[in-house]
Symmetry: C2
Subunit: 250 residues, 2 copies
């Protein structure tokens, strides 16, 4: 173990104890919904990217920094959705295995072995537009389809499930804010997004009726495709008031 690695273990003096954060980064390319997962060196442990909060750092800043450090991803808007606080979620044994596999010998009463609550965040981005890189604790960082996740450590599977529920519950707003579609799109493109995130096929006619009843879309000129009678209408999102409300900065 070199000094340079030793220095990277987060210290009790710098960080708030007992509280962590975890990020569920949903990636979507217009077709398939995936999640960004790290694999720790020599352990077979798969986990959501997470981290700790510096004593003089805003929570939101910590989460942004942590995501940058662990995945290389920058400028991603993360939305807080739940704080997980069961005593059962603590897992000093897993933490010990990860630290030892990375060459750290840590005393039993180290603050990292204590109980942790975790504030969880999610984001929805286009995975074709980013290039994640693993941090030094991890072997790999990869996009996994939502239905084919590896076994995740601690309660990370539950965190993913709740994130998915929250995302589905507020999908209209999320899609308006998150630039996953081009500025103008067809009803068919929009339907593909919904189907991938909801995880089931929808009927074209009822999807269209439901979308148009929501006062969410603005209709534009028809898309010229050569065969004019088959050209679909194109739409854009009307802007939502408050949609990008940043609670932390109120």
């Amino acid at each position: 173990m070199t000094e340079s690695i030793k220095r990277q273990l987060p210290s009790y003096e710098e960080f708030i104890p007992n509280l962590a954060f975890d990020s569920v980064i949903f990636g979507f390319n217009g077709k398939q919904l995936k999640i960004l997962i790290l694999e720790y060196h020599n352990t077979g442990f798969f986990a959501l990217p997470g981290g700790f909060i510096k004593r003089k750092e805003n929570l939101q800043d910590a989460v942004t920094r942590g995501l940058k450090e662990r995945t290389g991803l920058d400028n991603i808007y993360l939305e807080q959705f739940y704080t997980f606080g069961d005593t059962r979620r603590s897992d000093p044994k897993t933490m010990k295995t990860i630290l030892e596999a990375n060459g750290f010998q840590v005393k039993r009463d180290h603050w990292l072995f204590d109980r942790f609550l975790s504030v969880a965040y999610y984001a929805l981005i286009n995975y074709n537009e980013v290039n994640p890189k693993p941090d030094e604790l991890s072997d790999s960082i990869n996009w996994y389809p939502v239905q084919e996740l590896p076994e995740l450590m601690m309660d990370h599977k539950q965190i993913v499930e709740i994130a998915l529920k929250k995302l589905r519950d507020s999908l209209d707003e999320k899609l308006v804010g998150m630039n996953l579609l081009p500025p103008k799109f067809t009803m068919k493109e929009l339907q593909k997004v919904y189907e991938a995130i909801i995880g089931e096929k929808l009927r074209r006619t009822s999807f269209q009726r439901k979308m148009l009843s929501k006062d969410l879309l603005e209709r534009h000129e028809k898309l010229f495709t050569g065969g004019a009678h088959k050209a679909p209408f194109v739409y854009s999102f009307k802007s939502f008031e408050n949609q990008s409300l940043q609670i932390e900065s109120l």
Copy 2:
């Protein structure tokens, strides 16, 4: 300062540092929306009921216990909605004033003067059916109309605003789950609930159309009032799947 009071200051050994919780208890009697506020002894400080998490206690259990201790209220289902984590929200001066006004002399480096993040919860109950009692740190505990709150300490006003936004955003679900209406009610009674919580008057015809379009209500026989031609229909809520999903216990 007697020993019995001294023993009540929460100790670092018993509680998780740097993390608190706060509860926004909305009270509603069919007409007016109010919030439960504590006033600390001899300080003029008004605050939401809150508390700390024991080291071996589930977060949800801590919040339930804390609400019981500070307000006397029991068996209230609280929903977590946001964790506030700005460094600016720390306020050791206010904490010092409260402790001194209650006869505690506490050292500068006491853990209570450190930075605190806070996990916030809300509930919606009928204030006619409960009888809150202040804890020993507080002079009074009272219901204040949402529009006439006293000045609140720290960022508690912001916490109330976000709670109100969350409540309004999920009002349909909340009303189904929270027993604020009798099992069967008229459209007029339902409209009053919405108006009080949203904070504005609604048009009868459009409210009725919107409610009926939501697949939320079941219509029953007309209410017999003597003048049969004027009798209104009565409704009940259809039951929601997952409406009482308890995330902590998944």
